[in-house]
Amino acid sequence: MNGPHDLGGQMGFGPVAPEIDEPVFHTDWEKRALGVTLATGAFGAWTIDESRHARESLHPATYYSASYYEIWIRALETLLERHGFVSDDELEAGHKIWRGVTPKRVLHEGDVAAVLARGAPCDRDVSTAPRFKPGDRIRTLNEHPETHTRLPRYARGKTGTIEAVRDGFVFPDSNAHGKGENPEHVYTVCFDGRELWGQGADPALTVSIDAWESYLEPA
């Protein structure tokens, strides 16, 4: 979707303003927000793609005025409600009212280290041979789905070069919506700065994205 999250090339947000000696967390609630997000992710009820889509589906005014942990928590409330774990009236009350759905797994303290060390690899075997090889010229699709996609707007309808063929990976455009993993080959695709940003671009700039095969067609 052409949501507020798709930020590449936008202007007007002001300086980056890196914070000197930034702490890992700024408040205690940020710590809990991280922990609750990871612990509920361990339910196995939704995928990382669905959770990304929940975040980018926030209203743009909300998205741009929220810190990233706020974005996470707002999206998490949506996911927990969507999957029946909590209800709107519980969020209003701040306490359990209903029993709700029971998840496949609950993350306990003793399992945290192993779960974090395992992660959630999303490489998958793809039965077909890669359609492209390094050096091939490609053009990215110029499509504007209302659903989740990982092809950023600034790189749509652009001509670039395949730099590397990566593993097969779960296809987020379908997986985010519960329509299966449908893994595809992923490629690192390079674009000349001028192809993306016109003649005013930095002449020494190359930008790459990692693109699923169905985002690409031969140039």
């Binding site: 914070e19 926030l58 928590i73 949506t78 209003e92 303290e109």
Partner: protein
């Protein structure tokens, strides 16, 4: 549809930050339902506050600087090379190391969300996840680097890696001059988080200032 709870001041009206109350309410509900274990939350926080952070990545870089075989492995299969040092898992499942050279400076961003190599750098800083960096890194990287005090020669090529899929990138900066004879451990202390994102360079030994990448003519004289 979305809804807003944060204006409700029930139970937690002594909180200064309304979002703190909202997160506490969520944690309370989930705990009462037995869906989360507060001790597990503590363990997650402890992991990223104290155990997993940019010191991991710095050790990887220092090893690559001192061990050409490891550097080659890191370039070819970063996930395995990094795992051999014990750093693996969440948001580092598929790693790619990109090496700065005299000609090319690498910069990592996630324009679409906040993808970041947690296993080697920990959780990302606020600016990495915020709109100014995510919007500008791909279109005006030199302007972004200047905000970090990093001015590169005009002819230096800039390669921006937008982490749009599940590969997580770490930059391996060039080893600065003036570091001959330093141990791997001493070298690791020079490798900053920003140097591994690409928004900085390694430090000068004994200083918080970036070290020189190439010996300038006057520095050559001063050092000898």
């Amino acid at each position: 549809m979305t809804h807003d709870h944060h204006d409700h001041d029930h139970h937690h009206d002594n909180e200064l930050d309304p979002f703190a109350a909202r997160v506490r309410a969520l944690e309370t509900i989930l705990t009462e339902k037995g869906l989360i274990d507060p001790a597990a939350i503590d363990a997650i926080v402890d992991t990223y506050e104290h155990k997993v952070g940019p010191r991991n990545g710095a050790r990887v870089v220092a090893k690559a600087w001192t061990d050409p075989e490891f550097a080659e492995w890191l370039e070819r299969d970063a996930t395995a090379a990094i795992a051999s040092m014990g750093y693996m898992g969440r948001q580092g499942e598929h790693m790619q190391a990109v090496f700065n050279t005299e000609d090319t400076h690498n910069l990592v961003v996630c324009t679409l969300c906040s993808c970041y190599p947690w296993t080697v750098l920990g959780v990302p800083p606020v600016w990495y996840k915020a709109p100014p960096y995510r919007s500008q890194a791909v279109i005006n990287p030199r302007g972004v680097l200047a905000e970090f005090g990093l001015i590169l020669p005009e002819e230096t090529r800039i390669r921006v890696w937008d982490s749009t899929a599940e590969l997580r990138y770490m930059v391996v900066p060039m080893r600065p001059v003036e570091t001959d004879g330093l141990s791997e451990e001493e070298l690791a202390k020079l490798v900053t988080r920003d140097a591994m994102i690409g928004t900085g360079l390694p430090l000068r030994p004994g200083s918080r200032e970036p070290g020189a990448l190439w010996p300038a003519a006057d520095e050559k004289g001063a050092a000898s």
